[in-house]
Subunit: 348 residues, 4 copies
């Protein structure tokens, strides 16, 4: 029997990616799609690629019959998400929820209030939420009712760094993360600075010195290292649809060479389906993971002794959002982890 | 038991697309990959996206053990293909071959000699070849040993026009096909005029007035119409990787309106898995079929009475090449036609 | 002494292009910049490329001191333009105005009402307006007080076709114009369907069968031919910032060959600075006119006897809008026509 | 009287950029264009944008009459350049040469041999060469006969960092330069990894840990700091034609804040025409300098106390190559420095 799935926020890019993959997932049946501003329309009016397929009509969240769903993917803007998920559990206590927003990622409610500008509205729920970086928290996710899917930037920085921080293999005071994201990471909102002519044929940094994703990085890096870690992090937008590529500059603890860091990562991810460590000295391209749930990681020595450069890449809409969300669903449902998300990268 | 597959020319884009889809095809096993200039290398050295997967090493065609393969996809340059396929059947008469090149598409050997500049080298084989436009020649493909997979431009023009020509619904003397292709249609050869900086941020026509794909169009249009048809056809290159979009200007025979043309196409393709006719008046975007085996067709009336505009689009590497090749394989093997190629378009 | 220039609508792309070129125009001084929604801001806040330069602060139209300007470029949305220009002439009868909008292009007020959905609001002014296709109407522009700068699509179709229609060298019933435009042609408004991720990596037609630019084409083609001409015209959006490329399919009148058409165009534009006819058989690329005021035109024979294919290209923001506007200003002011707009195309 | 200019290597992108700007330079006359593989062809065959202009035919270097030229721009591959320039001075001792290649940039011949794999072939000339970072070495350039134009990556890192190193305002052991370049930086050679389909829609680092441009950085940083400086530097390729954007992570010496660094840069470049420092906290976009000779620099504080992030950007073909080359020519000839290169950035 298939799990009945509701996708909230189906008109956004993470929503459409969920639909793309769930339509081909052997154990899932999409029974509910919401999109408040597009309620009443067919999904094909919002995303013509779904024209040939039968899908439920878009409805508003108020219209959802929660009893009819087994699992909810919540792809709503942060802020409103807290209220909605509270209502979901109030309506159906046995629901499973994977939240793609930032609302339940921070365990420190003071940090939440600082970065998001208002107190958290669902404190008890927050306590029960599990951070959904699958390769790191798989065991906790198995029993979770509410999974807080990590952000795209953070997944791409945490996967390469957490094993190194756990092993105390790098200096914690000297981490620089220079991250580049495709435009879909900014969502589907109609803003002047996201128009084709504003962002093609060029490059820029944004949120320099101060970006919300840092809160998530701080939290998980500090947990992994067992001490407070504050990394330098600069996000950039690149003129491409998909992909995050992070170039990470580290100093090996006590002179540890890049080869050692590479060994730690290779061992840590040896059996993982969705994290692939390239041979030492090779670094990955974002296009080679496009459309797949893979993360590719490369490690090389800097010419400066004692320094290494790590390059990690993933598709921000897949492993950075909807793919990892389904990976978490698979874990929560006891399915093989790659079910429905083992599509191979589409290059070129 | 899985069909053992050899892919000849695995280092090109049609080759890599075959590998991408065959790796997830439940009835196929890739046992041989050739790439003459890259022989001896791993596939991952040529296409890093395959790094996580186990694939046979690239070998030269001379090294292939034909007895070990059940079916061959031939993705070689035209010209050499004829010789290779002759050798394959000489080595194993029971082989099934899907040829992605242009070598066996033209039944008129004089036309072949005219457009390709030399006489055909495998005349007998040519006679047994079946033109692989699946929706049109499905019955013949079932029993074929050698399928000549159509070109990308031609598939995108033939699917919308053949049903109309068969029904004599449009004037045959007045067809204009303005076709736009993504850059992967030009292959993976290192030519100055295909560099990023030469083709991004702009647009151009090429082969104006005279292009090899016309021979294929002439052949199939004339068969469908029962009279000689010569269409105007201009190919263009667009700054995108994938996609062909054809804007086709026709005059309805005896004043036939666009609605009638739309009705013919809707009926003809009503049960097809991979051809989707949009509601009358809507026209498709190439990005909404990207990565899928779908063809989308739209029909609208021109403001000039008696004229209609048809827009068709497909992914040149999938329905325009490797996807249709696997679709043909499925037909040849008696498998459900969409096996392994029902991936949904990836947008954005 | 420099001519004092007001640019109305400086926050749009045609506005910023005017500023870019006028800043280097030896006979122009920008004294007024308006942008209603950005009034009070510096131009550098809207277009950071102007950061190093001294420019007047953006103000609202109501704040403009018309007496202080000699010439106005009006780059406002159609509709409001009529009211604004009426007020300008009421305030200063001796003003010279170049209007980049569509408001004064149509001499037939019924056609205006039909295509724009409301009666024209400045009927008397309309009668005095001169259509600003410089190479065709240069003499009239010299004495004009109000020039209606042509649209980008129409300039790119009229320049190649008007000389042929005047000479009755092509059949008027059989013209197909397949036009492709860069995204800047759609302006700077924040709409979902203009986001980078919606328009990159793909292609689509829009306004199929029915597009406002047709009214302008009809008017000028009919004038040139001396009979009513209705061309088929389909606009497309390409994933590039700048450039229009029109592929035009014609039938020579009485079997006239492409060489003859090419001869007519070559002769007609032999002394023009901004229209360049390529050798017969060559067709142009949009990128080779990027950023310049040039139009490149190529002519080739179709393989179908009696048919020819014409390809024309220009930069939609320069010759298709702001460049031609300054060209018209130069004509109105009696300056050498290429003053300030002879920048060479930037490729790559 | 105009200076007679020879451009060697006119078929490359730096060559065509030189031609684009020199054609509009009031004091320059292009009398010689070379391109060995294209010798005998017209420039328009290699770069159609020059079709409307009169230019000398391309010849091979052996055919050049050196006596007829006053100044040579040498845009040849490194290695061959040394031999050619030796011959030029042998033929005409009074020649002025601006070399765009890397051949004369390194004063330490051992460093040259290490990074380029062979001993320098023109040791005496090397001693007389002046490093052409105009804003830093203007006085020396005035009297130079041979100027070694800096690389694009290095210009974009040296301009923001040299003033800070001179003032000892940043720690020299802790500089990380994450640089992103447009594809034209890789030149016009037909290589598979530079094809549109290989580099569009994605991002990657290359030369990680070890890149030739580092030698130039080391040399000039060490001179500026008065001690050996080794920065971490990683180049990346972005899917855009033009632009370099460098994100630079520094630690203020003794806790110096970003505001102080910003103050040093603002003062240093206050009177410069081509270097613009944005208000503190703002960072630039590469597209806002496109096509211009400008460098934009922004400085912001990192959230980590004592750390700052500097973002610098320029057009790699203009200030990063041909524009700065002409800027140096202007200095050598005693012309106003911005003559012929004051074109404003073209955005969008």
């Amino acid at each position: 029997m298939k799990t009945k799935i509701a996708v909230l926020g189906a008109s956004g890019y993470t929503g459409s990616e969920l639909v793309r993959m769930l339509l081909r997932h052997p154990n899932a049946e999409i029974t509910t799609l919401t999109a408040d501003r597009r309620a009443g329309q067919e999904m094909r009016a919002v995303y013509p690629q779904f024209s040939p397929f039968t899908l439920p009509k878009l409805i508003s969240i108020d219209e959802v019959d929660w009893a009819a769903a087994d699992l909810v993917f919540c792809a709503l803007p942060h802020g409103t998400t807290q209220e909605v998920i509270k209502k979901i559990f109030a309506a159906k206590a046995s629901m499973k929820v994977v939240d793609v927003s930032a609302d339940f990622r921070l365990t420190d409610l003071a940090a939440y209030a600082k970065w998001y500008g208002h107190p958290h509205q669902a404190v008890d729920l927050q306590k029960s939420a599990v951070y959904g970086l699958t390769e790191i928290y798989r065991e906790k996710i198995k029993g979770a009712k509410l999974v807080a899917n990590p952000g795209c930037y953070t997944t791409c920085a945490q996967l390469p760094l957490i094993p190194l921080l756990r092993e105390k293999a790098i200096e914690t005071s000297n981490i620089v993360i220079d991250a580049k994201s495709g435009m879909t990471g900014a969502g589907r909102s109609a803003k002047e600075n996201m128009l084709f002519s504003e962002v093609s044929e060029g490059f820029h940094a944004y949120g320099v010195g101060n970006h919300r994703h840092m809160a998530e990085l701080d939290q998980e890096f500090s947990v992994a290292a067992g001490e407070e870690v504050l990394a330098s992090f600069t996000p950039h937008l690149m003129p491409a649809n998909r992909g995050i590529l992070s170039t990470i500059y580290v100093r090996g603890a006590g002179g540890t060479a890049g080869e050692v860091l590479h060994g730690i990562l290779s061992k840590f991810y040896a059996k993982e389906h969705f994290v692939h460590v390239l041979p030492f000295g090779e670094t990955p391209q974002s296009r080679h993971v496009r459309g797949s749930n893979m993360t590719f990681i490369g490690v090389a020595n800097d010419r400066k002794p004692g320094r290494a450069i790590i390059v990690a890449t993933l598709d921000n809409l897949v492993k950075g959002a909807s793919g990892q969300a389904i990976q978490n669903m698979n874990v929560m449902l006891g399915l093989p982890e790659s079910t429905g998300i083992d599509q191979i990268a589409m290059f070129p």
